[in-house]
Each structure stands twice: as C-alpha cells, then as structure tokens.
Assembly symmetry: C2
Homo-oligomer: 720 residues x 2
C-alpha cells in the first residue's frame, strides 16, 4: 500500500470508529430509557445495518432559526424542568408526558415574519397524564409560565407513549393464567413477542380506564413473529395501573403457524435458492451534487420551491410555508401554509372476539413520527439523500433523537416533464423533451407490523404529489386449515389463506391529510368544477351531447363534503377569489384524486363513528387552530364525538376565508399469497396541482439534458 | 494533446461523421417519399437534434427469428412486388397500401414454437385501397399466394396513410375560394400550416366518400402554429379524388391569436428571462451496464421477465408472449399472450360547426406507430436506454425506418420494493428495505398537436404497470376575448381562456388496451371479488359491520361489462381455474385500476356510438383473432356497428376459456393556463398484478444495495 493510500485508509478507519462510537453513545444517552424486556435477548442474533456515509447531526447545540422550528434539546429540557417543578406534578404520584411539541405562533404572526426578524416567543404545547388525568398545557419557554388549556369534555386519551406500549407488552406476564396458557400452547416464554393493540371504543367496557389489548406471538425460529400468532388470546391491560383487566382465551385449539419461510431478512435468504436473475446496480448520480439545500436544519429550497420541513412525533413530517417563486415575475408566492398526515384509520374486517376491535388510528394512537424509524441509506432512500433527525421527548420529558428519520432527495426515474415532436403530417423537424426531476421528502413509519412510506414529491412545474406506500407485514390470523379445500363454503375466513394455517384478514387503510392551502394568501374559496352532459337542441349540431363544466363556489362546509363519483366528475379547485391572472382566471390549485377507496362500514358502527372523517373523500373547513387532527385530539378510546365529521356538521362559512382542505386516500386490502411473509409496496397518491396559478407553463424555460452535463462513472469494484 | 488522446479524438470525430452520414443517408432513402410541400421552407429555421451515441441498427439484412417478429425490409419488399403484380392492382388506376403487417400465425402454433424450431410460414396481412375500394388480403411470402379476405359489410375506411394526410393538407390550395379567405384573413400562404382532421361519422354527409376535414393555422413567427388557428374555416377534402368537397368559413371576424409566447422550443426561450433555478444534472447510472438484453431484435429479458416486443404501425408497440420465471421453481410461466393499445378516443366538447366532429380515434385513424416519432435520447428516455426502430411500409409499399421509435430502459427513482423496520415497541433491531428497479418500454406518439407517452413498466415482483402520459400541445379555438371579464355569463366558451384570444376546449381521452391474458395457460376465467358491507347479527360482535369479499365467476361477456364504482368496489381477477397454489388458491392476475374517467356522452350520440368501447371501463371477450381493435378494423368514418361494444353484446361464454381483457384508461381535460403553450405531462395508469400467482412474495431474495456496488462518478466537464 502506498503511503498516501495507507494514510487515507487509517483516517477512514478512524472516522468510521468515531462515527459509530458517536452513534451508539448518542443512542444510549438519548433513546427513551427502554425497559429491558424479553425481546432484548434476541437482539444479538439480528442485524442492525448502521447508516452509511451519513454525517450525523449534533443536536445538543441546535438553535432556533424560524418561528416554526421544532423544540430543540435545550428547549425540551426546559419544558421538562418547568412542568415537573409545577405544583400539579409535584403533588402527583405519577406523571407522563404524552406530547411535547412546539405551540406554533399564530398564523398571521408567522406569515409576517421574515428572516432577520426577532422570533416570536417560543411556547410548548404539552399533553400530560398526571395521576390518571389528562392535562393540556402551554409552557412559555422564556418566562416558564404554564397555562392550562381547557379542551372541554371530550372522550379519549392522548397518544400512547413508547413507555406505555413497552410496559403494556410486559404486563400480561404478571398473570399466572397468562403464563400458563402460553406454556400450554407450547411457547417458551423467552420466545414470546407481544404487541399493544389499541382497543377502539365499543361501549361501557372501555369506559373510564385507559386500556390496551395485548396480543402475543411466538418468535421461535423467526424474526417475523407476526406470522406466528397465538390466536384468540387477548389480554386487556390498564395502562394507568399496569394491571391485567381481562384475559380472553379462545384459540387454544388453533395451531401456531410454523416459522418456516417467514423470515424476510436478507441474511435468512441465503439457503433459499431463489431463482432470481440479478439486476446490475443502478444509481441516481449527481456529479455536481444535489440541487437542493436544507438551510438551518429546516428550510428546504429546490428549483423554484421553498418550504419549512420538520419532524413531528404525531404527524411524522410537517411541511409548512410552502412557496413557489414565480418564474415569470420572480415573486415568491404562497401555496400552502401547512400540510401533514392527520390521521390514519385501519379497520379490519373480522367481527370475532380477538379481531373486531382492530380499527387502528395509527397517528393519534401510536404516533406517526415516534414510529418512523431510521431510514436505510441506499435502500429506503437513494444515494444522495439528505437525512433529518427527529428530536422527540420521552414520557419522562427527556429528549431523544430519532436519527435519519426523514430523507430528502432528488428523483429522476426517466419520466418526461413535457414533450412535443412534430409528426410526419407537418414535417417540421421539431423534437423537444424535458426530463422530469422531482424533490422527494420521505418518511417510513413502522407501526408494529405495517410500514407506511409517506412521500411528499415536489415537481418543478408546481405540482405536489402526495404518495403513500404500504409495505411491511400483514396482521394475520391463525386457522386450522392447510389448504382452501378444507374450508367449507359456509365458513367465513374473513380473508385469504396466505400460507398453511395463516389467514390474511381483509382490511382498509384511510390516511387523511390536513392541507391548509393558502393560494396567494390566506383567503381562498373552494370551487367545484362539475362536468355534466349537455344535450344539444335539435338542429344545433350533428352531435347530440357534449360535456360542460359548471363552477360552484362552496359557501359553507356542507357544500364541500365530497364523495368522488366516476360518473359525476368534478375538479376541486382552491382558488383565491381576490386574485386573477392576466386574462382573468382566478388563481388556484386543484386537488387531484387518483386511485382510492371509500369506507363502506355502517355509519353507526362504533368503529366508523370514530373514523367518521373517512365518510367523505374531501372536506373543507375554515381554519381553526384546534382542528388539526381529523380523528380528534385524543384518539385512544375516543367515542367519535369530536372529529372532522362533527366539525364539518357545524356548516360554517368557507367562502373567501382561510380554509383547510382534507383529503383521504383509501385502500381496500384483500391479502394474497404474494403478501407473505412481507408485502411488496402498494402505492397510491393524490396531487395538488396549479390551475391558472401561473400565467403559462412554468417549466418552459427548463433546459433539456445534454450529454456534456452528465456524469462519467465506473463501478466501485473496478476502481479498487 | 497527448498522442493517444489525439488518436481517440480523431476516431470519435470519424465515428461521429460516419454516424451522421449513415443516419441522413438512411433517412433520405427510407423515409416515405414526402411531397415537397409548403412546410418545407420553414425547416431550415428549426432545429433537428440528432440522436446521440445511439448505435444505428441496419435493417436491410434483418432476419426473422421468432414467429411474431414483424415483417422485415426484404419481406415488405416481397409483399409490395407480390401485390402490385397481382391482377387486381395491375388493372387499377390507383392503389395504396394502408396497412402491411405480419399476419401472426395461429396462437396455438406460436405457443408451441420453441427456439430452434422451424418458423411457421410467414404471411402478411395487407389492407389496400384499389380504385376506391378497400381490400383485405393475406399474402403468403414463400409462395406469393394472395388470398382475399371477406370482412363483411362494415362501414368505415382503413387508417389514413401519411401520404393521404400530406396530400389532404395541400388540397385546399387548389381552391381559389380557400386561397382568397386565407389572404383575407391576413395570412401569407407561405405561413400556412394545415392539419388533416378525421371527420367521424354524423350521417349522410360523410357517406360514400373517404373524407377528411382540413383546418389551418398561421405559422408566422412561431413553430407552435397550433396556437394560431384560422378559426371557423373547415375544408372537407375527398381523399380518394384529392378534391375539395366543401368549404365552411364561419370565423372571418375572429382574430388569429398572436405568436408571442407560443414558441416552446429551447432555442426560443433564450430571451425570455425565466426565473427558473437550475437543477444540477442527475442521471441513472449503471456502472456494470443495464441488466436487460434484447436478443435478436425483439426478445427482451430482464429480471425474471421475458417477452417479445415489436413496433407496429397501428398499435405503436405490441408486447407478446409475456412470461415470468417463477423464483421458487424456475419454471417459465405464461402471463399474457399479447398486450397493446387498441384504440384511443378523443371527443372534444364543443358542438359548433368547426368543432363537433373532433372526436378522434387516433390509433385506427392515424396510426399510433406511424405517428410515434424518434425519441430524444437523454430527454425522452434516460441515458442507458436501448432503442428499437420501426420498419413500416409507405403507401406505395416501400419500407421505411422509424428510427429510435421504442426505448427500453431500467428505471430507479428512489422507490422502495418492500421494506420493514421493527419499531420501538418490539425493540428488535431489524431494518430491511429493497430498492425498486423496473424495466420500462416506451413510445411517444405525436398525433399532430398532442403527445402520448405510453409506458409498459415491468416490476421485478411480477406487476406490469401501464402508464399513459399526455403532453404536447392543446387543440385550441380562437375567440375575440382578451380577458374573461369580457365574456358574458350566458356565453358558452366550451373551455378555458388560456391566453389572449385562445380557448382550450374541454375534451376527454380514452385509451383502450387489449390484454390477452394467458395466466399459466390460455384457459382462464374472469372473477369479480366484490367487497360488500355485512351487518353483524345482534350479539355477534361489538362491531355492527365489516366488509366481506364475494367471488363471482363471469359466465358470459355481459357478466364482465364493468363500470367501476367507488362505493361498490371489486377486485377483477383473471384466474386459471385449472391451477391452484400449494394451499389451494387459484393462480391469477388482477386488473388494478387507478385514477380514470368515464365517458358521459349520450349513448346515442354518433360520436359515442363509434366510441362505444368506452361505455365500460372493463370488458372481457373470448379470444377471437378478428377482434383486436376496440373501435373496429376500419375506423375512419365507421358507424360504430362493429366494435368491442357490439362484440360483447353477443354475450358469448367466457368461463374457463381463452379470454381477452379490455381496459380503458380515461382522462377529462379541462384546460388551464399552465397548458399553454405546451402542457406539462399528465399521467395515469393501471396495473396487472399477480394475485396468488406466486406462492409467496417473489422478490424476497432480491439483495439490498450495498455501497460497494454503486458507481464512482464525476461530472464530464471536470474530466475535460
């Protein structure tokens, strides 16, 4: 080895060591103090792939630069010391912080703010449980003042803490009956894996106790314990007292499905002899580096876009102050004040004892951000991705870092931004095409078995595409059957036999997005552009019909409760009635649905009452600070009396007002064998698209690719 | 310059010279002998970007390797000499070949064929007009035998030839009245650009003459003449006699919209001062080269897929014999015998004189392949794309080469094939993700103003996604208005004011795909898996409802006339009732719709009668060689009495039969200013997805990306 090469080898080694040392020391300091439970003895066998070549961010010295920046480590520590020294907490036997997040300054204050201006006073919104009572407080960070917020008499409990969930999974072990049934089923306690399953609300049983239902699995011989349910065993646990409330044990005769072929990890495939033809490496390369910047941790600038981006324990990511620089005028124009995933409703379609309650609200019950795991560089995100961490509070208020939780990258998969060739008819030699490059903001949320990939994709032409991918592992049910020929035609499986003894239960996913559109300012209107058949009058035309577009401005909320109809189609515009284009069209953005599904559950089903925000695909509400979470602020065991559907029933005025659009993207999922043991990603999306927002095609001036600008590459191995 | 570098510089120079020499000499030899009309004098001003670094294919020595290979140049020449020496042609005053394509051997013969077997006898199917009469003939290439085919008494004329279209645009100039009105409107004849517009069929007027309607534009000061319509002027031309039949001239008072800001070419943007922030080059790089092969010109092999691919003058591309090698067993399994775009229906929504007939059927009237232009390397397709030419016959039967008409490339835009992380609840250190790489087959069809990008995207997990992108230039209407405030509320614009004096007329696009699915063999069934709400019985469950899937096998065609319904959802499976998975599920593929639109026109509207194949989104017919074109074989001026809708009405048996699935992807297009002067691509798609086709997730064994496998790149400029 040459001297210079040796030197660089040594420095890489040193850097790698320092990097891992830093990561692990940080993780052990900052991760929530996790109870050392029975899962831990499996960890050694499993692989942790450390992030590669990602420069870790140091957060202890994070500064606040923007009114919407999330709480920093010093700020979270200040909140913790402030509230724990507060009389309410001092006098208490127990307390836990279920949410500590920035109390965003008033919208008009944020919109007025410019770089260089002093920051508005920093406040934290805190949701705490103190001796079994929920409190909402605003903490002023400078003064230390704590103000209690009256949220009224609403049902429900705050998002579970990770500590709640961890403790709940251990609580059943306190019960002899539970331990006995596990042993009776032939499962070694050391192989036990349990999940905390939100109970929903089905009447008295769930009242006045903060409950969770624990279901368990055997992880013997597989990392994919989800495929090995201990069927019919449900333990109701009180999360405030950590006591077992009830054990329902109805599946003793059901087998635990075998471990064979369930492991999906790369290391487990080595002896599988898949006949898969290899795909050569392919990588999006940017020889001059990415074109976006992330300034001061949160301000993303790319092409003509700029927006504020932050991790949030509940929403996952929050995208704020989305603006587009008009390519004609240079003006920075408002598009959206705030966009985020607001709630996710996942009802399973099995009314039996161990399944009926599985009607998850993953965002409000589990937290989409706190379940968003570190992304795998090169596989979850492409090579040049930039990673952003989440800085979140544990239940005791101590901050921890969710590393590499968000990635931001430019994408080019070969799509075309616009094109035109002249054809032989005209014989003009014109051929113009532009590659379509986009900017993607991604999180991948693992709510136990399921994985949700949420992408906010920004196009250079002003379109925002919001895409949700479903992957991960199905929630399955054990069955005695090895083959469908054993199932009588009368018997209801509630799903598909996916493997021997394994039924994939039918379920839906509904993810509702909060979209506070501010098209060139806050006062907007929602317009339906309905296409309807017009019959021509006799002798008017050889045609007897054509489609005519009719504009209707929604006056109140009920005008904007939209169910999509293929045979009664509309476009849905958010326009600024106070601003017109040069030729007189109101400037606007439209919501463009794509493939979706609608909830078909009985409106009076307790599950659908709580998930009533899925009763329409689109809703529009007037902006209201307290209406951000479609399923309500407190979702665990909520009765459904305070959610988007009930707000909208007030039928408030929404014309020429600051309005919020809610869009629900739905999926029906009838499982199939391809979903076993881990499912290929299924995606759907919707878009926010400029419609007479620009005077003309805003990407007219984008140059085509030229060979001279593209990289020269070789394979890494050939350079070694 | 060093000696070696100089040498390579010289050889590159030489290669470049030879390449261009080859291209241009080829083009001038092989392009249809285009009439030297008035467009030509504009050519010098416009830019032709020659393909870069693409090795041209030599076709004069093309060999036939597969029963489905398209006709080669020698074969086309043989067809030409055979038919022109036939008595029918000998005795005729005029003749033109409207279609010369491979008469594919019987399906069972093709399916039996294996590499190395002798090829079935080669035949050509010829559609010719001889002295004003349409003939369909089968020409046996070896024997020279010509067999006339009786296609019955159906209305309509064959696809226009490019010569038809070129001649038609010149014919109006024969008319003094026409020339006068052009001059009266202030247009110099040298700036005239005219388009041949299919007439549709609206009764007697169109009967017994092969007509086209010519509309004209001013190309003064712009390459984008489409934005400068000479409104209200329609010239009916007889394409058999090349005579003007009628001139309708109703727009004398309407202005011709200005040329300013209409040019979309890169060269025209230089003085536009777009405030567009530059995007650094980004390129999909494959240091070890692409992973696909195209063997013997047509057999594509990638990942576990293989299929036959060819250019077709009418369909654009035809994908045949689509098979997937099962990763568990290694078996090569049938998925689809043949897939192609079958018809495209584009009704405009303006019943007035110069617009009502604009109800294009682009595939049957113009030819999707003959209008598919050379793709622009680096911009229409990414860097490592492989290009395939079309070898097509001109009207006189001479073959010409449509260079670089199809591209094939691997795509990776950062998507995730599957993933799972364990979350804090389980505390297992598992994080597995796989990048999603796909193979794309693309054409871009320019039917005059509009551009259709048709992608067949193959995923490694067995899914085929068929995506249609719309770009290009809108068909617009001149209007007196400069601003919407001049338009009275009673007046119907039939569209959107997009620029001064320019209305973008509302229109739909319906593209119907022919999908001859052969899931593990030809005998398949079509199954609806309908999801319906079940109410639980009292005391059955705390839930009052759940969704239950009910399977219904379609017995006859009418059972499979499907209108999609958001609130009555189904999955649509093509299963093989004779083959089950290990655990007893029938193997299948499902048709997965995404965003789409349905035709709302009056079923008795002459336009909708011809486009009746759009009356449902899905149809299933029994395989029938003569039922390939959804709008019928002869589409120009067809009455609509012989198309998919009428075939399906026969209600033939389709259970456990060789069946064909037809899917129609629809778009409503209400124009907006962003579509001016060229529209950003709007896409939608549908998928064919394995459903219990595999025993389990077929991409389990795909390895993740590792840094060591990715390329090392630098920017080209930094290497110079």
């Amino acid at each position: 080895m040459e001297g210079r090469k040796f030197l660089s080898f040594i420095s890489i080694l040193l850097a790698t060591f320092l990097f891992f040392f830093f990561i692990f020391s940080r993780n052990s300091n900052l991760l929530p103090s996790s109870t050392n439970h029975h899962f831990v003895n499996k960890v050694a066998e499993l692989e942790l792939q450390p992030p590669r070549k990602i420069t870790p961010h140091v957060h202890v010295s994070d500064m606040v630069h923007h009114p919407l920046d999330p709480l920093t480590i010093p700020e979270l520590n200040r909140v913790r010391s402030t509230v724990t020294s507060h009389a309410l907490f001092n006098a208490a036997n127990s307390h836990a912080l279920h949410s500590v997040a920035l109390e965003e300054p008033p919208k008009e204050r944020v919109m007025r703010w410019k770089e260089g201006d002093p920051l508005p006073p920093r406040k934290a919104s805190v949701i705490a449980r103190v001796d079994g009572v929920t409190h909402v407080m605003i903490v002023e960070l400078d003064s230390g003042r704590v103000e209690k917020v009256d949220v009224g008499q609403v049902s429900g409990y705050p998002t579970m803490t990770i500590e709640d969930m961890n403790t709940a999974t251990l609580t059943p072990l306190k019960s002899k009956e539970f331990n006995q049934t596990i042993v009776d089923r032939g499962v070694d306690l050391k192989d036990l894996a349990c999940l905390p399953i939100s109970t929903g609300w089905y009447g008295k049983k769930e009242e006045k106790k903060r409950l969770v239902k624990v279901q368990c699995y055997s992880m013997e011989k597989t990392a994919n314990f989800y495929m090995r349910p201990i069927e019919g065993l449900t333990v109701v646990v009180d999360m405030d007292t950590n006591q077992v409330v009830e054990i329902s044990d109805n599946g003793r005769d059901l087998p635990i499905p075998k471990a064979a072929n369930t492991d999906y990890r790369f290391s487990a495939q080595k002896n599988q002899h898949h006949k898969i033809k290899p795909i050569n490496p392919i990588s999006m390369e940017q020889p001059k580096g990415p074109s976006f910047t992330v300034e001061k941790g949160h301000m993303v600038k790319w092409a003509n876009w700029e927006f504020h981006l932050k991790a949030d324990p509940r929403a996952g990511v929050i995208i704020s102050r989305v603006m587009f620089q008009d390519p004609d005028t240079g003006e920075l124009r408002n598009v959206m004040y705030k966009g985020m995933a607001s709630e996710l409703f996942v009802p399973y379609m099995d009314p039996s004892d161990a399944w009926y309650f599985k009607t998850y609200m993953d965002i409000g019950e589990y937290g989409f951000g706190s379940q968003a795991m570190s992304l795998d560089p090169l596989n979850d995100c492409p090579r040049n991705a930039y990673y952003i961490d989440g800085v979140f509070p544990a239940a005791d208020g101590r901050p921890y870092v969710q590393t590499n939780m968000i990635c931001v990258f430019e994408s080019y998969g070969g799509d075309i931004g616009w094109r035109h060739s002249e054809c032989p008819i005209t014989n003009l030699k014109v051929r113009e095409a532009r590659p379509k490059v986009t900017l993607v903001v991604r999180i991948a949320v693992s709510v136990a078995n399921y994985d949700y990939i949420v992408d906010w994709e920004f196009q250079a032409d002003g379109l925002i595409n919001i895409k949700v991918g479903l992957s991960g592992i199905l929630m399955v049910k054990a069955t005695p059957y090895l083959n469908t020929n054993q199932v009588s035609s009368e018997e209801e499986l509630y799903g598909t036999l996916m493997s021997e003894n394994v039924v994939g239960v039918i379920h839906d996913h509904y993810i509702t997005f909060y979209l506070d559109m501010d098209v060139d300012g806050s006062d907007n209107s929602f317009v339906k552009l309905n296409l309807q058949r017009q019959q021509t009058s006799p002798d008017e035309s050889p045609r007897t019909s054509y489609l005519k577009a009719t504009r209707t401005v929604a006056k109140t909320e009920k005008d904007a409760q939209i169910k999509l109809k293929l045979y009664d189609p509309s476009e849905f515009h958010v326009i600024n009635p106070n601003k017109k284009t040069r030729i007189g069209n109101p400037v606007g953005y439209k919501v463009v649905p794509a493939g979706t599904a609608a909830s078909l559950l009985d409106l009076n089903d307790p599950a659908q009452k709580r998930g009533a925000f899925t009763n329409n695909q689109i809703w529009v509400t007037p902006y209201n600070r307290s209406e951000e979470w479609a399923g309500g602020l407190f979702v665990c065991q909520s009765h459904g009396e305070d959610n988007l559907a009930t707000w909208s029933e007030r039928d408030r005025a929404i014309e020429n007002k600051d309005i919020v659009v809610w869009y629900t993207l739905g999926f029906h999922h009838i499982p199939c064998q391809e979903d076993f043991p881990v499912m290929p990603t299924v995606s759907s999306s919707f878009s926010l698209k400029p419609v007479n927002f620009f005077e003309r095609n805003p990407i007219l001036g984008i140059p085509p690719n030229f060979e001279k600008d593209l990289p020269v590459c070789q394979s890494t191995s050939s350079t070694s």
